[in-house]
Subunit: 508 residues, 2 copies
Amino acid sequence: MKAIRNYDRYVEKMQQIADLSNVLSLLHWDQEVYMPADGISIRSGQLSMLSGMIHDLQTSPGLVELLRELASESGLSADEHKNVEVTLRDTTRKLLLDRDFVERLTYTTSNAFVAWDKARKESDFSIFAPWLEKIIALKQEECRKIGYQDHPYDVLLDEFEPGMKTRTLDTLFAAFKPELEELLKQISATGPDTHEDSFMYLNYPKDKQWQAGLDVLGKMGFDFNRGRQDISTHPFTISVGAKDIRITTRINENNLHEMLWSCIHEGGHALYEQGFDEATYGLPQSEAASLGIHESQSRLWENHIGRGASFWDYYFPKLQQRFPQQLSTVTSELFYAAINKVRPSLIRTNADELTYHFHVIIRFEIEKELIEGSLKATDLPTRWNELYKKYLGLDVPDDSSGVLQDIHWSHGSFGYFPTYSLGSLYAAQFYHQATLEISNLEKEISEGNLIILKNWLRKKIHRIGKLADSDDLCRKITGESLNFRYFIDYASRKYRSIYRFSELTVSS
Amino acid sequence: MKAIRNYDRYVEKMQQIADLSNVLSLLHWDQEVYMPADGISIRSGQLSMLSGMIHDLQTSPGLVELLRELASESGLSADEHKNVEVTLRDTTRKLLLDRDFVERLTYTTSNAFVAWDKARKESDFSIFAPWLEKIIALKQEECRKIGYQDHPYDVLLDEFEPGMKTRTLDTLFAAFKPELEELLKQISATGPDTHEDSFMYLNYPKDKQWQAGLDVLGKMGFDFNRGRQDISTHPFTISVGAKDIRITTRINENNLHEMLWSCIHEGGHALYEQGFDEATYGLPQSEAASLGIHESQSRLWENHIGRGASFWDYYFPKLQQRFPQQLSTVTSELFYAAINKVRPSLIRTNADELTYHFHVIIRFEIEKELIEGSLKATDLPTRWNELYKKYLGLDVPDDSSGVLQDIHWSHGSFGYFPTYSLGSLYAAQFYHQATLEISNLEKEISEGNLIILKNWLRKKIHRIGKLADSDDLCRKITGESLNFRYFIDYASRKYRSIYRFSELTVSS
C-alpha cells in the first residue's frame, strides 16, 4: 500500500508541475503568435517568475525525498520504476541550478528574442550582439554549475539529447560528412540542374495555402480537437496541455515550399506529442525521449512522406484541384523532382535534405567555439560567413540571411542544432524499419492511408515517451544503434533516380 | 526613508500579483478565443491553481502586515496613501475567503462555462442547471463568509461596485422605471415604427466588417501596439498586461449591428484600461474604479458616439465607401434612425438603449431571488419567461434566447448586471459634463476628432483608476452624485427627434 500511495503523491506533484509548465508554454506561444508589440514589457517578468516557480517545484525537498524513497521501493511496476528513475535523473541536474539562475536566464532570453527579432529585421547583428554575449555567459555558467568531464558543450547537448557527448558527435560527423560530400559530388557531376520548378514560385493565395495545409495535417491524423494551427514567422510546435498541442506555420504567397514543409514538419512533431498516453500526463512517459527523437518524427513526415513519390502520387491531384491555375500543366513526377532539388543555399530551413546537414555542422562547430570561449560573440558574423564559404561555397550577403537567421540562440538553445541531423538519421533508420514491418507501406501511402504509419509510430515511439532514451529506443525498434548508413542508402536511391547517375562509389 | 522603502516593497509585491493575475487573464482569453475543445481538461486545473496562488499572495501575512504599517505611516503622498487604503480594503475582503474556496469557485466556473456553452448551443437549460446550482451554493457561501447587514446580495454587488447596496438599487430602479416606461409609451404612441432598416441585414462580408471595426477602433484612439482584437462568440475586454489590452468582437455577416456595437463598446472599455498610468502598474490606481464606471466608458462610446448623429455625419460616407453595394442608396439620416430603433427584444446584447434597462432589471430581480434562496435554479426558466412577459411583453420561445443567453452566471458573476444600467446612467451624466467642458464637442466629433473626447476621459477618469470610488469620481467630475435625470433628458431629446413626438409629460 505504501508504495502505491507514494507513487500517487509523485504523480500528483508531477501533474501540478506540468500544469504550470503548460501555462509557461502558453505565454511563449502567445508571445510569438499574438502578443501586441508592447506586451513584452510585462511578459519577460511573467516568464521569469513562472520559470522560477516551476524550478522551485521541480527541486522542492519534498519531491526530491519522495523520489529517493520511491527509487528504492519495491512494488512499483517496471514503467512506474522507469518514470521515477528518469525524473530523479532530470531532478538531479536541475538541483545544480538555483532559482535565481533560472529566472535570470529566462528573463535574458525573453528580452534577447525581441532584440534578435529587431536585429534580423534590420539585418544588423550589433543589435543582438550584447544579448548574445549575456546568453553565452549564462550558458557557460550553466556548464560550470552542472559540471562535465570532457567538454563543457557536453552539458548543453545533454539537455536536449540525454547522454550525447561532443566527442560522439565529432566522430559521427567525421564519418558521415565525406559520404554526404561524395553524394553531392555525384549529383553535381550530372551537370546543370534542369528540373523545372518555377511553378513553385507562382502566386499561391494565402487563404488557399492555409486550407491546403489544414487538409494535409488532417490526412496525417492531426487531431484538431486536441490542437490547432496558427501563423508565425518561425514555425514551431508547443504543448499547452495533454490534449492541446499547437503548431504554427508560415505562408509565403510566392513560394509554396514554405507552407508545405513547415506544415508537414510541425505536423510530425505534433503527432508525437498528441501520441503520448494521456494517462501518464506530467510523467516522463508523456515527454519526448530526446529532441533527436522528436526531430526524427518531424523529419520522417517531412522527408520520407512529404518529399516522397508515393504521397504525391496520392495527393498531387488534390493539390492541383486546389490550385488549378498554378499547377494544371504540372505532373506529379515534375512536382516530385521540383520539391527535391539539391543545391547549396543560405537559409537552413529552406535547405534540401542533403545540404541541410552542412548547415547543422557549421552551427555545431560555432557553438563549440562560443562555449569554449575560443570565439567571441562579436566575431561571430565573420566566422559564420567563413564557414558558409568553406562548407557550402556561398558568400553571405548580409547578417539576416546569415548569422541572424535562426531563433535558437536568442532562446538560449545551444546544443539544439545537432539534434536536427540526428533526427534525420533516426528518421531514415525508423522509416526503413517501418517499410519492413508494415506490408506494402509505399502502396498504402500512395492510396492516402497515412494513418497506418501514424499508428505504427504511435505504438513504437510515441507511447514510450521518455521511458527509453534515444539509443535504447533505436535498438528496441531497429535492432541496432543509430547508423547513418540508412540515411545514405535512402538518399542515394532517391537522388540516383531523380538525377539519373549510376551506383554510388565512395571516392578514396 | 523607512516609509519610502516600505512603499516600494508594497509596490513590488503588488506588481508581482499583477503579473500573475495577468497570466490568469491570458488563460481566460485563450480559453474563449483560441483553445481547442479538448484543451479544457487541463485548463480548469490551471485556472484554479493560479487563482489559488494569487489568493495566497494577496492575503499573505507579509503583505497584510506591510499594509497595516503603511496605513499608519506619515510621509506618503496623498495618492500613495490612497493606493494603500484601497488595497487594504480589498485585502480585508479577500482575507475572509480561504484559498480552498477560491480554487473551488474557479474550478467550478471554468467547467460551468463549458456546460453553459453546450446548453446554449443545444438550447437545453438542464445541461447547465446542475452547474448553476453549484455556483449559487458557492456564491451563498461567499456571502456568509464575507458577511452582510441587510441583504446577502450586498456582498456580491460590492465586489463589482464597491459600496453599492441592494436597497440603493431598489430605490434607484423604482424611480427610474416609470420615467423609462413613460418615454417608451410616448414612442409607441407615435404608431407603427416605419423607419427603414432592412439594409442593416444585407450581406456584409466578414473580412470587410473586420477591417471596418479596426478602422473605427483606430479613430477612437485604440493603440494597437498595446492591444489587439480577436473574434469570439461573446465579446469581452481583458487586460493581459499594462501595455496589452485585448478585446474581442463578433461578426454576423447578415447583421451589421453586431460587429459595430461590440467593437465600439469593447473599444470604450479598452480605452479605459489603456488609459491607466503605467507607472502605477499593479496598484489600485491602475484598476477600474468599479464595473459601473467601466461600463460608463463602454456605454459612453457606444451610445453617445456610436449611436449619435455627429459621429455618423463624419463616418457614414466612409462606411458607405467600404460597403457601396449595401449602403449606396442610404443617407446618414436614414442610417441614424435605423441604428436607433426602439423595440422590445429577447436578447439583452441586441437591445436598444431604452429597453436595455428592463433586461437588467429582470436579471437584478432574479439574482436577488436566487441568492436569497427564494428561487431554485431549476425554476429559473419559468421565472425568466414570466418576467420577460411582464416587463417586455414578450414570449420566450426557447432557453437559448432566454435564460441561457448570458455568459455571466457561468462565470460566477452575480451582482454584475446592475452595473450595466449604472454604466449607462453614469455615461449620460459624464457625457453631459464633457459637452459643457469641451467647446463644440459635437462639431469636433462630426469632423472625426474623437481623440479630444478620449483625452478628456483619460484625464478625468482613466488616470484616477480606483483612487476614487464611483460616487467620489462622479461628484468630482460633475459636481453631484449619480442622477438618472441626465439619461432621461438625453434619451427624451434623442427619441423625440427620431420619433417626432412632443414634450415629455410624465403620466401620473
